[in-house]
Point group: C2
Chain length 311, copies 2
């Protein structure tokens, strides 16, 4: 498991998104990505670094402004306004795209996510951690394309990965044939979504616990090394991070259905009616998730709702 | 009203803190400071600037790391742990200082304020806007000492000013003599606290409204120029900012009573019993404010509680 800057790895690695379209299971994917995210996010956050090192690193990555600006626009703004760049399955989703632009509560929520994306230097994030930025074999997982990296909110990476797995899930009905209903594969995707968050949560808090005596500047051991307080602080941190991640996951899903850049998972469904049906379910789910994200207390609750929507 | 870098202005300007100790009223103070804060904070935030300009400016001010690190330590950490630098009115406040270090809910809250201070580049803040950084005459107000400036949470500046006015209020009983009970002056301080927030709120939202068609990247007019939504977004923004400001105000008060650097308002009360009494009231109020800040919906509610504590 490593982050590499090269666009292509030697075969037999393939882009994860293509594997998800083909219906291939990757038994170590959740574990590998949880490991990648927990390490990169923990060690670059103020849970582990000093404010001095943090500020130096934040400044270093502020140079990456063009990529950040682009992401900010295409993810948090374009889908919510009339834009020549937006597109969707036409005419099927015309009404859906219009409703989105008129949904005040949704626009209220996405504004808060955008502010967090632009203002909060929580950790060094990959910045584009979707399933097209990951190359896989049965037992290897490689994260590529780090050119969007900057200091931002951790939930943006976690949400990118979870949201793209959710899009892959919603696309599966478009790939189902008489010989292969994709039911088992859909179950595997949901299991991977659950395992990713649960393993991330476990590994991240384990790193935090292991480093409690040489911690960063956010929670000094002299103040926070007391079991009840430690528990209180960690629960709050992880709950907020969970809700941030769900928010960013939903924003990523929405922008891939009505924004400028779509995903192959849905685009490769050639029957427009079938594609629109998958997209509408994904879009409605994402809208609900953005608005209601703070009500979820576990990832299992999220996957349960997905199952209700699709089964 | 201007920000200047010089330490001393020509007489008759005096440091506001000294004026507050002497019991001098400054009828334009609230208006001037509200003007200063609304302008500096609005124009340097993403409500007015582009993400490109914002990131460039954030990077520029990341160099100011030593000052930020110092503030982070003395405001958000030292008072909550055993530190050779901490001091307080001894032995009167021994127990109070100890209770503070054992108050888990308070330490939970101050951690969130510290994270916001270190991570959130909301606007270019003065970074040390207490009553010792302001020079005044009857009709002139000059902000000095901008060497702490960096991109941080707006509430840190607003809270610094309000928190120091509150300290000045709690110190007044220590200055009362038979000939002068300071009752009217206490009323004037509370009125100034109220007016500062209310005028800031008014001026800040007015700037936001005036600029709605050439807004920054946070709330694009194409998405948010709709009366109900505009109202929803502004109310949320100003409510969060109000609660952030109260949180930072309380942190600033606490650190001036049990931390390394105290304020002349309280220090100049020579009778230790009297001083300890004033300090304990201020400390208890500040602890309540940090924990309960999200329950307050107006600054008038805050000043009412202060009056109950002291009268």
């Amino acid at each position: 498991m490593s982050l590499i800057g090269m666009r292509y790895l030697a075969p037999p690695h393939i882009i994860l998104r293509k594997g998800l379209i083909a219906g291939v299971e990757y038994p170590l994917l959740a574990q590998h990505i949880a490991e990648f995210m927990s390490s990169t996010l923990f060690y670059t956050s103020l849970l582990h670094t000093s404010t001095t090192e943090h500020k130096r690193a934040v400044a270093e990555f502020c140079g990456n402004v063009a990529m950040c600006r682009h992401t900010g626009q295409v993810v948090f703004s374009d889908p919510y306004k009339v834009s020549q760049y937006n597109r969707w399955t036409f005419p099927h989703l015309d009404h859906d795209a219009e409703s989105l632009r008129e949904d005040n509560l949704l626009k209220f929520e996405v504004a808060q996510l955008k502010s967090m994306f632009c203002e909060r230097a929580q950790a060094l994030i990959h910045g584009d951690l979707h399933t097209g930025s990951i190359m896989v074999t049965h037992d290897s997982t490689q994260v590529i394309d780090p050119e969007f990296a900057f200091y931002g909110p951790m939930g943006f990476d976690i949400g990118a990965f979870l949201g793209n797995l959710m899009l892959a899930f919603f696309a599966q009905d478009g790939f189902a044939t008489e010989g292969s209903d994709r039911k088992d594969y859909k179950k595997w995707i949901l299991k991977t979504i659950e395992e990713t968050w649960n393993l991330f949560n476990k590994k991240f808090t384990a790193l935090w616990d292991e480093n409690k005596n040489r911690s960063g500047d956010a929670y000094l051991p002299e103040i926070y090394n007391q079991p009840d307080l430690w528990q209180l602080v960690q629960t709050k941190y992880m709950t907020d991070l969970f809700h941030d991640s769900l928010g960013f996951a939903s924003a990523k899903m929405i922008r891939r259905i009505v924004g400028v850049a779509h995903v192959e998972d849905l685009e490769s469904i050639t029957d427009a009616n079938k594609r629109a049906e998958c997209e509408r379910k994904a879009l409605d789910f994402a809208k609900m998730l953005m608005k209601e994200r703070r009500k979820f207390v576990s990832i299992g609750e999220v996957t349960s709702v997905i199952l209700q929507v699709v089964s």
